[in-house]
């Protein structure tokens, strides 16, 4: 692994994004519009936006980075650039960390913009600090990206890659405790929910909504999110084969 190659890969991925202004505008703009929409939806119901808006700050980075990464990685595979890169001195880890760093930067900017809007303009109130919310949002983005890197290996076309969004993200959204409290779920559903990394992302944000300081639970959640991301990246590395049939 080489820092030079990792950073130049990060730079390359960011340059690709820079040439795609529409994608950048949507990545940054769509969450702002949706958060604003939710704010007005619950304008007259006290306390709902404080709960929902906070969770949205963590979900957007996760979902958007999942889609962008899986499509970007699929393109590397289908256009032959991946095969070519693997015949050069580039190491698999250079590519994965290069992508990771690039999208973590984008996710941080997005999370910063969404949080600024929510806290400053829409008066989001949370017991925990803004900085911790931001940290969790960025970790969620890294997790989404790691899962995207891995699941892109199972898609042959961009159509299939986009279908992984409902297949992988929706079950996690439904079972994470956002719609129905986890304590109200059937036992087997709780078990499935326990095994899904997004559950911990939502739990961490809920903790920050009601507690002033980051308790043990928040750090446990962050540890699980980071651990899941590491496992997904390791699995993704295993799908990058130098020799193919």
């Amino acid at each position: 692994m080489s820092a030079r190659i990792t950073f130049s890969t990060t730079k390359r991925v960011l340059l690709q994004l820079r040439h795609d202004r529409r994608t950048v505008a949507m990545v940054l703009g769509v969450p702002l519009v949706l958060i604003t929409l939710v704010y007005y939806l619950f304008e007259n119901q006290f306390g709902i936006f404080d709960r929902l808006g906070l969770i949205m700050l963590g979900l957007f980075p996760f979902i958007i980075m999942f889609i962008i990464t899986s499509v970007a990685m699929l393109r590397e595979r289908t256009t032959g650039t991946l095969e070519r890169l693997l015949t050069t001195p580039l190491h698999k880890a250079d590519l994965l960390f290069g992508y990771g760093l690039a999208f973590a930067i984008v996710a941080s900017i997005q999370a910063l913009a969404s949080s600024a809007l929510a806290y400053l303009a829409l008066n989001l109130r949370t017991a925990g600090s803004f900085a911790l919310v931001l940290l969790i949002a960025v970790c969620d983005a890294v997790l989404g990206m790691a899962l995207g890197l891995f699941f892109s290996a199972f898609a042959r076309t961009e159509f299939q890659a986009v279908q992984f969004m409902p297949a992988i993200v929706m079950p996690q959204l439904l079972l994470c405790g956002l719609f129905v409290p986890r304590s109200g779920m059937a036992g087997w559903m709780q078990g499935v929910s326990d095994a899904m990394p997004l559950t911990y992302a939502v739990d961490a944000l809920q903790q920050l909504g009601s507690h002033t300081s980051a308790g043990v639970l928040v750090w446990r959640d962050l540890g699980i999110i980071a651990g899941s991301a590491v496992v997904a990246v390791a699995l993704a590395a295993a799908t990058l084969q130098r020799h193919t049939a």
Partner: protein
């Protein structure tokens, strides 16, 4: 002459089909060696085996003294795939600079020189998605030339180029090889049919035209094998 590539009894099977059925060939250093064969004969598969991207069933390939794809040789070879494998959402210059950055000691100036070398200096800041097919192939070529590789593996590098430019590029490949004479390897259905200088190949076939030579060599091979199939 030292050999740059040594292929021994190479067998490649892809989705239960034998693509290479025991290819043995040597590619000498300081020479331009052409690999000829009809479409589907296994040319691309053989080139992928040389750069270490192909899973092989048996046999082996030695490149610059090491097994194909060995980490120690990755900075010494350049590979241009048949379909241009470059980033269409980057400019010409950004593409070549990125590939330059993967190699130790290759600088941004080298990238700009490679862009000029393939005749795209005037389009250096244009997005690849806005280029013609022939221009894209040249960007792909520049990405391989930029590291100054000892072994350049080109899969149909001049298809779709205008005749003048094609002539120029081949002259450049010969200059890179140090002016050694050409050699040819003819393959068909995963088997080497003939190997040698163009003159030797013509002589084996008893004709002056290379494509005629190809047909006649295949016919005689089929006759030897007792096939009834017509080439």
């Amino acid at each position: 002459m030292p050999s740059a590539v040594d292929i021994r009894d190479l067998v490649v099977v892809r989705s239960r089909q034998t693509v290479l059925a025991g290819v043995t060939a040597r590619i000498q250093a300081s020479m331009v060696t052409g690999l000829l064969g009809p479409s589907g004969s296994g040319k691309t598969t053989l080139l992928r085996a040389i750069v270490g991207a192909q899973q092989v069933r048996s046999g082996g390939v030695t490149v610059l003294g090491h097994p194909a794809g060995a980490p120690t040789t990755r900075h010494r070879i350049g590979y241009v795939t048949q379909a241009p494998s470059i980033y269409s959402d980057l400019t010409v210059r950004e593409n070549v600079r990125y590939f330059a950055s993967l190699f130790d000691g290759v600088r941004a100036e080298d990238a700009d020189a490679a862009v000029t070398r393939v005749g795209l200096a005037g389009l250096a800041d244009r997005l690849v998605s806005k280029l013609s097919g022939g221009q894209r192939s040249r960007v792909s070529l520049a990405c391989a030339l930029v590291s100054g590789p000892e072994l350049l593996v080109l899969d149909e590098p001049t298809v779709g180029q205008d005749p003048l430019l094609r002539e120029e590029l081949w002259q450049h490949f010969h200059d890179l090889a140090g002016g050694g004479c050409d050699r040819l390897i003819l393959i068909r259905q995963g088997v080497v049919v003939a190997e040698g200088t163009p003159d030797e190949v013509r002589e084996q076939a008893g004709t002056h035209d290379l494509s005629e030579a190809f047909v006649s060599l295949i016919r005689s091979q089929l006759a030897r094998l007792g096939h009834k199939e017509v080439a």
